[in-house]
């Protein structure tokens, strides 16, 4: 058939930077064309975006995240965290990870965290006496922490796609957020232990707890302190649905940053809206066209055939998980997280479920691997962003990040082979 040259042409176009949405569209169009289906199905599938109430969370949380990173929230957040944790060994590295996780959860691991917070945290770390390599590696690594915590956009996207596929096992976004808690804690503890180990010869001086500083820091950040409670508290307690939490957060952040702190003027607000919605538009567009492609793939029974084919070569769950880890790691190195999710989830989920893997657990595995992919040389995205942001050669970033990468690799393996870690809070 004449399919091979077309596929090669599309791969070449992808290699030279053709937008992913247009490539996905091209594949979907070809598929529908060969099945004699009117291409009007594509706008119809795009319109299905309006059938997913959860998607409302996407523009709202992204907007809130961009607004926070454009104002001085990060400074205030770091100050409060330090005032609270200053007496704690390797306190600043813990603060770095926690604050970065907060920002990454809002914006997805898009590099914004490293760009917005790196300039603040990297000098602070080196000045406090942390080794240079350690500081650089930590800030780079922290840029993709927090993907498994609310309101992580990639996790929301994962759940939406799985829900659209009607696989017979209903999952909710609340379950996914619960599943992310212990794996994130595991990574935090491992990074903390590593920090202690690195500074064992020359421990970083502790800052004595100072009540006045805490009070000042709290007063300065008083309007932003309720935010984590809305988002985390609201979602985990079940008071807010995720899209409700998004609406409240967006409105609150808008009022606080524009009218109370007055750090964003109206002109800047328009810019923030443009930038954040450019990202949302890019994600929604690939989501929409991927829904069309998914529909075609399911019609053509591709996932079932894929499962049958893989089953001939891999007969047990554990081998499958190893192959899956390797595959996702490679994927995370070349694709950004949102594209990887919309393109691969429809194919991977049915196959993994065939091996008896819970879709929520798979989501956590998927994202944890993506997170690792961001740090994996030679083409992990966080590495390039850090190199650009800190003006360091990429080789220096490689060297300083490798211990962290290995650490996260271990945590990804634990997460993968210990399903209970993710599923313990979920009725399954």
């Amino acid at each position: 058939m004449t399919l091979a040259p077309i596929i090669i042409a599309l791969l070449v176009l992808a290699y030279f930077g053709a937008p992913l949405f247009s490539l996905i569209l091209a594949v979907a169009m070809l598929g529908f064309y060969y099945q004699d289906i009117n291409l009007m199905v594509i706008p119809i599938e795009l319109y299905r975006i309006t059938n997913t109430p959860l998607l409302l969370a996407l523009p709202l949380f992204t907007f809130a995240g961009y607004l926070l990173s454009e104002s001085n929230t990060s400074h205030r957040l770091v100050r409060v965290s330090r005032a609270i944790l200053g007496w704690f060994p390797t306190e600043l590295s813990v603060v770095t990870v926690v604050v970065c996780a907060f920002f990454t959860a809002f914006t997805g691991a898009t590099g914004i965290t490293i760009i917005a917070l790196g300039a603040l945290l990297y000098p602070a770390l080196t000045q406090s006496g942390y080794p240079k390599d350690y500081s650089l590696g930590l800030v780079t690594t922290s840029g993709s922490m927090g993907l498994l915590l609310p309101p992580s956009l990639p996790l929301i996207l994962y759940v939406i796609i799985v829900q659209q596929m009607n696989l017979g096992q209903a999952i909710t976004i609340e379950q996914a957020f619960l599943a992310g808690v212990l794996p994130t804690l595991l990574m935090l503890v491992m990074l903390f232990a590593w920090g202690l180990w690195v500074t064992r010869a020359e421990p970083v001086a502790l800052v004595p707890f100072n009540f006045t500083e805490l009070r000042r820091a709290l007063r300065e950040a008083i309007w932003e302190i309720p935010l984590p409670f809305f988002v985390l508290g609201g979602i985990y307690s079940g008071i807010f649905a995720v899209s409700e939490a998004a609406a409240v957060t967006a409105l609150y952040v808008l009022v606080v940053e524009v009218f109370i702190y007055k750090e964003i003027n109206l002109k800047k607000l328009v810019k923030v809206i443009q930038d954040s919605m450019t990202m949302v538009g890019g994600i929604l567009l690939i989501l929409g066209v991927a829904l069309a492609l998914t529909n075609y793939l399911i019609d053509a029974e591709v996932p079932i055939n894929l499962f049958e084919w893989i089953k001939q070569h891999i007969d047990n769950k554990f081998t499958f998980l190893i192959v899956l880890n390797l595959f996702l790691l490679l994927l995370g190195m070349i694709l950004d997280i949102f594209s990887a999710i919309v393109i691969m989830v429809p194919l991977v989920v049915p196959v993994a479920m065939g091996y008896g893997i819970h879709p929520i657990h798979l989501g956590i595995i998927f994202l944890a691997n993506m997170q690792l992919g961001y740090l994996t040389p030679p083409v992990g995205m966080s590495l390039f962003i850090a190199s650009y942001r800190f003006g360091k050669p990429i080789t220096e970033i490689y060297r300083s990040t490798i211990p962290f990468m290995l650490l996260l690799l271990v945590s990804v393996l634990i997460i993968t082979y210990w399903p209970e870690l993710s599923l313990i809070f979920i009725d399954h």
Binding site: I42, F63, V280
Partner: protein
Amino acid sequence: MHNLIALHTRLLQLEDIFLVGFLVLTIVLASLQILLRNFFDTGIIWGDSFLRIAVLWIGMLGAMYASRDDRHISIDIGMRFLSAHIKPYVQALVFIFTAVICTIVFWYGLQLVLLELEDGQYGFARIPVWLCESIIPFAFMVIAIRYFVAAILALLNEP
């Protein structure tokens, strides 16, 4: 020519107004719905439908923005290895491909809207479905035009 540039600036401003307006309206309306539902046990009947359609409109407007300066998500490994001589041609080819694909979606989107126009169903309140859907062909038309223009500019700028 001068008038055309002025018109283009106006259109860009209109795009801004629509995007900002939709997002702010969405934030306010979504918050209002929560307030009404939890404290007054009521709500705006068409509110939730509006919000779901607003997400599509915001997304499509955002996608139009992303095509202003080719900020769509892509892999782009190869371009940096090309010589300055051949680069504009490859760039133009990639842009034309994108533009053609978008033109096809525009065309079928238009057919869908025309079909719905005959059908006369309502999306929410008194807003017909065809109007809600119309952003799809419209956005793809704008994206296609932008990528065609980008292709021409890439060729004109060749060294």
